[in-house]
């Protein structure tokens, strides 16, 4: 958010000072435009920290959170960057990542697959992410009536003629409950000191002033049953307040809570090609708190037992339930001692004393495999620990 005075924006992607200087002083490079930024969003006058695109994503995510949207499509998803933000929202059930560039999607689609930690830290709500290839202007019934469709920095890449078709497809046919659109604010460009007619990105077909964007939004709302709220991302430096935010956006909200039933959209038409689809690991909801507590009891008893065995050689440990209740991991279940005793009794490994106050845990196998209680391939030495169960396939990380 802090505007910082920066150097030549054309070389702002230089990785370090050396590269920056050498490129700046190289007339060859300055003339051909190999150095052009992905998209100009910082200049000698303004630089955003965190970078503007992150701020933009964060803002859209904020809207999704407020609205608790469960089904979301991201049009113009490109490298699936925004999907990385969306998938961390625990209430989202379905994400469609849509783009027209198949080659790009094919090389990036695996980015949305569950990572190791997604398996460890399972979601409470199911989530499916589907990567679809197709044009915004076509219609795919899977995306009909979603909670939200996002088109982040997409509209300015469309031909002016297509903008109208885009609105028709989005608001007229897809009819999501909400639409979030962002686009550059042309008013802000004065701070980039562009040449006449220069735009922030080579592929931009147009850039809108705040006024033009508002006109577009109003056009939408008169034609379709939506209302809109404007927002901005990337505040200008204080001495240039008049130019407005660097990026502008609008949240459209559908007014009708139910859709008319006459639309042909009811027929399933799956026009978009599914390049990748993946379900995220979900917590097993069928497991009761008692199940988890039982495992916690076994775990803790086992830990205590083994510690005692190692220190004192106790083959059987007696653990008072009152002591177990002092463990935060057990205490959190807020159950009675009697309930713990009952759960322990139902297990295979634990036994409960007759008074119901303590749990017995056995720290060694019932009978050592004869004759040297050794196991598999290793010999046993009298001085060492005696149980050699080998997990052959396990190794250090």
């Amino acid at each position: 958010m802090i505007p910082v005075i920066r150097q030549d924006p054309r070389f702002a992607d230089a990785e370090d000072e050396d590269e920056y200087q050498s490129r700046r002083s190289n007339p060859l490079i300055r003339d051909n435009r190999t150095c052009r930024l992905k998209e100009v969003e910082s200049s000698d006058l303004v630089k955003f920290e965190p970078p503007l695109y992150i701020q933009r994503y964060a803002r859209v995510v904020e809207h999704c959170k407020t609205g608790q949207y469960r089904t979301i499509a991201d049009f113009g998803t490109a490298e699936l960057t925004f999907v990385q933000y969306l998938k961390n929202l625990d209430f989202v059930n379905q994400i469609f990542a849509v783009d027209i560039d198949r080659n790009l999607l094919n090389s990036q689609k695996h980015r949305c697959r569950p990572q190791m930690f997604d398996h460890l830290n399972k979601r409470s709500e199911p989530l499916n992410i589907s990567v679809l290839c197709g044009s915004v202007l076509e219609f795919d019934s899977r995306l009909h009536d979603l909670d939200c469709i996002c088109a982040i920095e997409l509209i300015e890449h469309l031909q002016k003629d297509d903008v109208e078709k885009f609105s028709a497809a989005l608001f007229g046919r897809y009819q999501p409950k909400n639409v979030i659109i962002t686009t550059p604010n042309k008013d802000f460009n004065v701070l980039f000191e562009f040449e006449p007619d220069q735009m922030r990105h080579w592929d931009h077909k147009f850039e809108w002033t705040r006024e033009e964007f508002r006109t577009f939004c109003e056009g939408v709302t008169t034609k379709y049953d939506y209302k809109f709220d404007l927002f901005g991302v990337g505040d200008p430096p204080s001495e240039h307040q008049t130019v407005g935010p660097c990026s502008q956006g609008a949240v459209f909200t559908r007014q009708a809570s139910k859709l008319g039933s006459s639309s042909l959209e009811k027929f399933p038409t799956e026009v978009y090609e599914t390049l990748y689809s993946v379900d995220y690991p979900v917590e097993d909801k069928s497991l009761t708190p008692d199940y988890h507590l039982t495992n916690e009891i076994i775990y803790q008893c086992n830990q205590i037992g083994i510690a005692e065995y190692q220190e004192q050689g106790d083959e059987i440990s007696v653990i008072s339930i009152a002591h177990l209740q002092t463990f935060p991991s057990i205490d959190q279940y807020r159950v009675s001692d009697a309930h713990i005793a009952e759960l322990a009794r139902a297990t295979e490994h634990l036994r409960v004393m007759e008074d119901g106050l303590s749990i017995l845990v056995q720290n060694v196998p019932d009978s050592p495999p004869a004759p040297y209680w050794g196991f598999s391939d290793e010999e046993n030495d009298g001085a060492g620990p005696s149980y050699n169960y080998h997990v052959g396939a396990e190794e250090l990380w």
Binding site: D18, S22, S25, N26, L28, I29, T34, R36, L37, E49, P50, A58, V61, Y85, N88, L89, N103, N106, H110, M116, F117, H119, L120, N121, H201, W202, T294, N295, N302, Q303, I304, A307, Q310, G313, T326, P328, S329, P365, S367, P368, P371, Y372, S376, D377, E379, N380, D381, G382, A383, P385, S386, Y387, Y389, H390, V391, G392, A393, E394, L396, W397
Partner: protein, 849 residues
């Protein structure tokens, strides 16, 4: 392209120069190191104007080489190549005795369509794209339509299954600029080259990664979707595969093994809380000790870190200075990962990450602070490992019998087959995985006979894991007559235990022909401190005392170390340490039987033997031990002193850390030879050496340094003995399953495989030494580096098997020849417990058992 960064240096291995390659030949040769040593200046200090060309010369120069030529200053080794190690004088490496058996092995044949070569291109960009912006280079090449994604490209060198018709392509960058990509054919990669094997590996890794839904952890692939949850131990087991493709004598084979990754579902914070609530005192130190060195995986970015310290005076509320300004850890996680840290008072973890700048090769250290709440523990702790219940529950899944294993292997192949994308990919490269796992012939050697007192033979039962039924009922070859000449030290609390011990000794000893009686001297001490034990030893050992027995209340390492140090160095005397919990009534008989045998062996008594129909042979075992703490490693050298393989001479050596290589082997060998002559009145006619603990990458060094120094010692003799030098490897991928009717079983002990999965470049064979009760048996690999003898390969195979029977600490066969296990045991004792050379007075005893 050689994405696995670890360079396994094979000095002197040049790039292969396959005949088909017209351009490749000249640059090939032993230049692997040379090219890396002189990298042209890159990236940095680029002069003005020259920027456009400065990259060209080194890349041009490298292009003539192959994939392992460095594309930066990184070193890239080809770990799939097998250098030629077969002794030149050996033509046929196969044995012939034994009964033929039908085996299956965990390999699939890879069929290469028409032996079609692959094409290697050097890629240039105009305007120049920096060599280290690999991502951009890849993205641009990706846009070339006519490659149809059927290529491998590492940013510098491109491989295609077909020859390209065009070599110039124009693509558009994201920014709209046009870039011309030109390809220059540098060589044809023939299917017989090592490079080809490496490419096939890369292709299969891609398949596993992208088309089989497997996640890569280190070198192996796992399927978390099929995780087995073992909640009561807070672990999950992820099934997976380890695979590699190599060239064997049967052709290109895909070796596949089933693996399980153990993942823990508790966070570091809950592990810390666990340590606190189990309340063993000294909490901060305790936590630090338990966590240091542990590897954790973060919840938010899927990275693993090694914990180097726990910082108790920092908490997530504290502020960290980032490039963008100060921010608290809580806010940082909130902003960047949308993670809420709940416990605001937890300490932080410190991880020191060493990075190497890909451009300059500069190494930097970065300190990273982690919040325990968002880190997961990985792997098993020692505590879990020693917990029988955990191991038992895990073994249920990890130990797969041959039938189950075969099914899992076939599943792999089916998954490949059922993925259209994987099939297409293989198809485009002209590769095909054979539908069934590989069948091969093996031979089963006759079961050995165990020789007991007076050479009485008893046949081993191959179905049993051990032959204790023989040793328990029959007399050992030679008893040392301990009588009452032993000394027991124990705490006053354990006096009853000492009585149990003495009485049981007197009962079980004579039953196996060992003369030990119930009236040894017992000294009780008032504490369990190491010093008191040593003081008691010092003041009570007399010239008559044959062995010291210390009964200790638990297996604390410091006390064990102190006792062993004293008895092996200060006051050399055989010693036996025994944890009293092993003397519980239920176990006492079997434990004491074993201990009595062990004591007899330690004192030089002979327990049992096998028949080796050769005279004047000295077997040598060599192994090394690396201590994680110190920067030295220990080499153990053990040589047999008689034909029955019951007497041994031992010596240890020290070398710089992590060096498997034993540098003082010449001295060791010389001393062993002298000792042999002293005992046998003649030098040995044959020296047969088994070397354990050598990685693939060290073979050459072992051959050139160790083998040579041993040869030097042998040349000093009036007549140079025959020499056989064999490298023994226990951790291998190969598994064999024996077809018996319509069932698959583990092949019995003595099964030999010396075809198909052996290498043409080696003299090698596999031996199944043991019988296992659960799971799949692991064969041992023998790789012969020197074979200067009139023996036949068959003889060596039999010798290896025989030697697996005579390890006195286990009444059964072990996985390696006994001399190796003795050497291992010796190196371990010296490296882990003594940290100093033991007294030479003990050199002729098996005191290290």
């Amino acid at each position: 392209m050689a994405s696995r960064g670890r360079a396994r240096g094979r000095a002197g291995r040049g790039a292969p120069a396959p005949g088909g390659g017209s351009n490749g030949g000249a640059a090939a040769g032993p230049v692997g190191g040379g090219a890396t040593a002189a990298p042209a200046p890159r990236g940095r200090g680029r002069g003005r104007g020259a920027a456009a060309v400065s990259d060209t010369p080194p890349t041009e120069q490298l292009a003539g080489m192959n994939i392992q030529a460095p594309a930066g200053v990184r070193e890239r080794g080809n770990r799939f190549a097998t250098p030629l190690f077969r002794p030149e004088n050996v033509k046929d490496t196969r044995g012939n005795t034994g009964q033929k058996i039908d085996l299956l092995t965990n390999y699939f044949e890879i069929n290469v369509r028409d032996n079609k070569p692959l094409y290697q291109y050097h890629v240039d960009f105009n305007p120049v794209v920096k060599a280290d912006s690999v991502k951009l280079r890849k993205a641009l090449v990706h846009r070339i339509e006519c490659l149809r994604n059927r290529h491998l490209f590492d940013g510098m060198i491109l491989y295609c299954p077909d020859r390209l018709n065009e070599t110039e392509f124009v693509v558009q960058k994201k920014e709209g600029d046009r870039v011309t990509i030109s390809m220059k054919l540098t060589q044809e990669v023939t299917t017989s080259s090592d490079q080809f094997i490496q490419l096939v590996n890369i292709i299969f890794n891609q398949i596993a990664d992208r088309h089989m839904g497997l996640d890569r952890i280190r070198r192996d692939y796992f399927n978390p979707g099929k995780a087995v949850v073992i909640s009561q131990h807070k672990v999950e087991l992820w099934p997976g595969y380890e695979f590699s493709i190599r060239k064997y004598s049967h052709g290109v084979l895909l070796g596949l093994d089933v693996k399980h990754k153990i993942v823990r579902t508790d966070t570091v914070l809950s592990a810390m809380n666990q340590m606190v609530s189990s309340g063993r005192g000294g909490q901060q130190e305790n936590i630090r000790r338990e966590l240091m060195g542990a590897i954790v995986i973060t919840k938010y970015n899927n990275k693993t870190y090694r914990i180097d310290d726990v910082i108790f005076n920092l908490s997530p509320k504290d502020v960290v200075q980032l490039r963008s300004g100060p921010i608290s850890y809580v806010d940082y996680y909130k902003n960047n990962y949308n993670l809420t840290i709940r416990d605001l008072n937890q300490p932080l973890l410190l991880s020191i990450v060493k990075t190497k700048d890909p451009g300059t090769g500069e190494r930097t250290e970065k300190q990273i602070h982690l919040v325990p709440e968002v880190c997961y523990m990985t792997g098993l702790t020692d505590a879990m490992r020693s917990n029988f219940r955990v191991m038992q529950d895990l073994a249920q899944y990890t130990k797969q019998d041959p039938e189950k294993k075969k099914r899992t292997l076939e599943e792999f192949r089916q998954t490949v087959e059922s993925s259209t994308e994987a099939r297409d990919l293989l198809q485009s490269w002209g590769l095909e995985v054979s539908p069934a796992i590989l069948e091969l012939d093996g031979r089963k050697l006759k079961p050995e006979q165990i020789l007991m007192k007076n050479g009485q033979p008893f046949p081993c039962d191959a179905r049993k894991e051990s032959f204790d039924n023989i040793t328990r009922k029959n007399f050992v070859i030679q008893s040392v007559d301990i009588n009452n000449d032993y000394l027991i030290i124990c705490t006053s609390r354990d006096v009853t235990h000492s009585n149990t011990f003495k009485d049981t000794c007197a009962k079980v000893g004579p039953a196996c022909g060992i003369n030990i009686q119930a009236n040894g001297k017992v000294v009780s001490i008032n504490s369990d401190r190491a010093n008191d034990f040593i003081e008691a030893i010092r003041s009570n050992v007399t010239s008559n005392t044959k062995i010291v027995i210390c009964l200790v209340p638990n297996d604390r390492k410091d006390r064990y170390d102190a006792i062993k140090k004293h008895c092996c160095i200060e006051q050399p005397i055989p010693s036996q340490v025994l944890v009293t919990k092993n003397l519980q009534p239920k176990k006492a008989m079997s434990v004491v039987t074993k201990v009595v045998l062990q004591m007899n062996a330690k004192l030089g008594g002979e327990l049992w033997s096998i028949n080796i129909p050769m005279q004047g042979v000295m077997f040598v075992g060599i192994d090394t031990y690396h201590d994680s703490g110190s920067n030295k490693s220990v080499g153990g050298f053990v040589a047999s002193m008689n034909n029955a393989c019951t007497r041994y001479f031992s010596k240890t050596t020290w070398q710089e850390s992590k060096q498997e290589l034993i540098s003082q082997l010449q001295t060791c060998t010389r001393e062993a030879l002298q000792q042999y002559r002293k005992l046998n009145n003649a030098f040995p006619q044959r020296v047969i050496i088994f070397r354990d603990g050598v990685g693939d990458g060290q073979l050459l060094a072992v051959k050139e340094i160790e083998l040579e120094s041993i040869k030097k010692a042998l040349h000093e003799l009036p007549q140079m003995p025959n020499l056989v030098f064999t490298v023994v490897t226990k951790r291998i991928q190969q598994r064999f399953f024996q077809k018996q009717g319509n069932r698959l079983n583990n092949p019995g002990p003595g099964s030999i495989v010396d075809t198909k999965v052996t290498s043409d470049a080696l003299f090698d064979f596999y031996l199944v030494p043991q019988s296992v009760g659960q799971g799949t048996v692991t064969p041992t690999h023998y790789n012969v580096l020197a074979f200067e003898t009139n023996l036949q390969p068959d003889h060596l195979q039999q010798i290896a098997f025989k030697l697996c029977h005579v390890y006195f600490n286990w009444t059964g066969t072990i996985r390696v020849p006994a001399v190796c296990q003795y050497a291992h045991k010796l190196a371990f004792l010296v490296g882990n417990h003594l940290n100093k050379d033991p007294s030479p007075q003990l050199a002729n005893y098996l005191y290290y058992l």
